[in-house]
Symmetry: C2
Subunit: 382 residues, 2 copies
């Protein structure tokens, strides 16, 4: 088995973990292309280690700069066009989407149309354009292997059992605010909110964990990945983050996938799928762990959960609007312009004003909705 | 799907649960034959409900008695010969082995030779004659579907993953003596020892749960069912009995099968395999459950665990001798002839004296070892 990968977003958290996996699987994984938005130093360093044929960087001016520090012979492309070209390369088997945000939609669709294997860490593409992405994947007979630990868990649990699926249980650590009363949220420093108890992640997703919008987005993602109605997707708070998610079958049997919380495991699974290759993660010792605990999520404390549910129930462009309103609100929170507790309010207001048409969605409808939602949310933040 | 079953041991605990399952799956499960050792009243009542073509009872004199109370036209057979005939019936697809003890070996082998599907609740046949049974199953292309909740869990977890299996984790409630100090064991009334905290079972297996020999036998069973070395089978005490067992794959990923503790679930799975059919067991609510806990088994308090491990390591006829020494010791404990703490001592003494030949085992070697072990153990109990 040799899988040649294009890695989009190589300088982020999932990107670095993917390269860790590639290093540990030399001879089985070959890195054909790398992309990053703006971190040219790290991207060049990665290029020296992994010798990709092509690297892609955010824009033409960064492309000029990175050329000087890349290994001789590495081709440089840039921007959306660049992403489109690396996901289409003939010597790429699998495209790993480790970029966050809605910018992922177009290269993802391009990769599907080129019938590449998809290893997907990005949530927003499915949240915003799930119906379109999944229809194209089906038409092109492309399987999307999720990297998100929850969806990877469900995907793995379903092996041989898809016909019998009744319910999905997305587990959640509960984030950094699980034991903090709602009234104290706005008194906390941003570094507290960014310090996730179990997973090391980027800033945006760390805020999403604190609001639990992350789990809301995952409900929408699961709805598309596994073709399950939102009402059959439950969220279960499980602070130890050992069970990454569970399924319930029609006969009342449950399956859980478990491991230490280490993103390299779902990444390795996604890039080596359908094979599994030996790995030696830190030992998971259940006796030392002593217990796994569970509780219901607090819907009043974390209104983002119901906002996400209501968006997916309404369908159409609502999830896209939800996602962008959230992106914009989080950006403004991180910039210090709004308080933490404003995030769900802004999303709620945007969704309240959103009007979606009933016709079958085009990609342009989604882009229009995203554009509208960004302006609305931005206005509310200023 | 219609599966016609012969149910061996219909009046016991697993047998009754199997008939519950058959009732709930009318039109999908047909009961062609029933057998019981001696409970003619219950067997006749079951025959009136399920209209089997044949019933089998322990001996000729009981056969004479039951004839008078059976539905008109029901054929009666008896003894080992009777069992041999019902497992071979042409209109039987699946034989459910719900009888306990080593008497299961011969009808099990007969059923395998007739290429019947096997739903196996009996532990002792694999403990004593695992090598022979599994070789015959392979030769006859017969799949053995375990009913024991632990092995059913492993079997279900392995769907699509058998190639990658690294370790098996058999979970154990810890039995009624988990929180009792070893020095108090002999002061407890038998009814305390027979009162299992999670599962309602027969007397023999309840005592085996108290000594944890039940888990020792399950290690040996798992060794054969899943072709895994004893050193890769771990026991994990999990008092809530929600996770019925777990597997670990070569990449450090774990899978657990979970449900409320209700034997009808693994039975239904075994008799409808490879399909799953809707069932509505009591709801498993993780948030209400709040936690699943784990601890290491106490090897000093429960020496039967290491006795079983040492027997399977030595191989040959040692597991058969272990099983019979245990059967005999438990029988004498239940009869009030020996104290509880004597059970492991007797097994240890019998195994210490046992001599096994190195040659490839025949069924007769096993029967000889069983006969010898029963006499030895019996002598030690008197």
């Amino acid at each position: 088995m040799l899988k040649r990968i294009a890695l989009l977003g190589s300088t982020g958290s999932i990107g670095s973990s993917t390269l860790d996996v590639a290093s540990s699987l030399k001879g089985k994984i070959e890195v054909t292309a790398l992309s990053a938005d703006s971190n040219i130093k790290l991207l060049a360093a990665q290029a020296h280690l992994f010798k990709p044929k092509v690297v892609c960087i955010g824009n033409a001016s960064l492309a000029q700069q990175i050329k000087k520090i890349l290994p001789f012979g590495t081709k440089v492309v840039c921007g959306n066009e660049g992403l489109g070209s690396i996901v289409s390369m003939r010597d790429v088997d699998t495209v790993v989407f480790a970029i966050s945000g809605s910018a992922c939609i177009e290269p993802l669709i391009a990769a599907i149309k080129k019938k590449k294997n998809i290893a997907l860490a990005n949530k927003e593409a499915l949240v915003s354009a799930g119906a379109i992405v999944m229809r194209l994947a089906k038409e092109n007979k492309v399987q999307i292997i999720p990297i998100d630990s929850e969806h990877s868990a469900i995907f793995q649990c379903l092996e041989g059992k898809r016909t019998y699926l009744k319910k999905i249980y997305l587990t959640a650590t509960g984030g950094p605010l699980r034991n903090i009363p709602r009234t104290k949220f706005d008194d906390l420093p941003a570094r507290f909110i960014l310090n996730h108890p179990k997973w090391k992640m980027g800033k945006k997703i760390s805020v999403d964990s604190a609001t639990m919008m992350n789990k809301g987005l995952e409900i929408i993602e699961a709805r598309w990945l596994f073709d399950v109605d939102e009402k059959n997707i439950e969220v279960l708070v499980h602070p130890e983050a050992i069970i990454h998610s569970m399924i319930e079958l029609i006969d009342g049997t449950f399956f859980a996938e478990m491991s230490i919380p280490d993103m390299r495991l779902p990444i390795q699974y996604a890039v080596t799928y359908p094979y599994r290759i030996e790995a030696r993660p830190k030992k998971l010792d259940f006796a030392a762990l002593s217990k796994l605990s569970f509780e219901k999520p607090d819907a009043e404390k974390f209104p983002c959960l119901s906002l996400a549910r209501s968006a997916v129930k309404k369908g159409g462009t609502y999830p896209a609007a939800l996602n962008i309103a959230n992106e914009e609100a989080v950006k403004n929170f991180l910039a210090g312009r709004i308080r933490f507790s404003r995030i769900p309010h802004i999303i709620e207001k945007v969704l309240g004003k959103h009007k979606a048409s009933d016709k079958r969605l085009s990609l342009n409808d989604i882009f229009d909705a995203q554009h509208w939602a960004r302006e609305e949310a931005s206005r509310l933040c200023h």
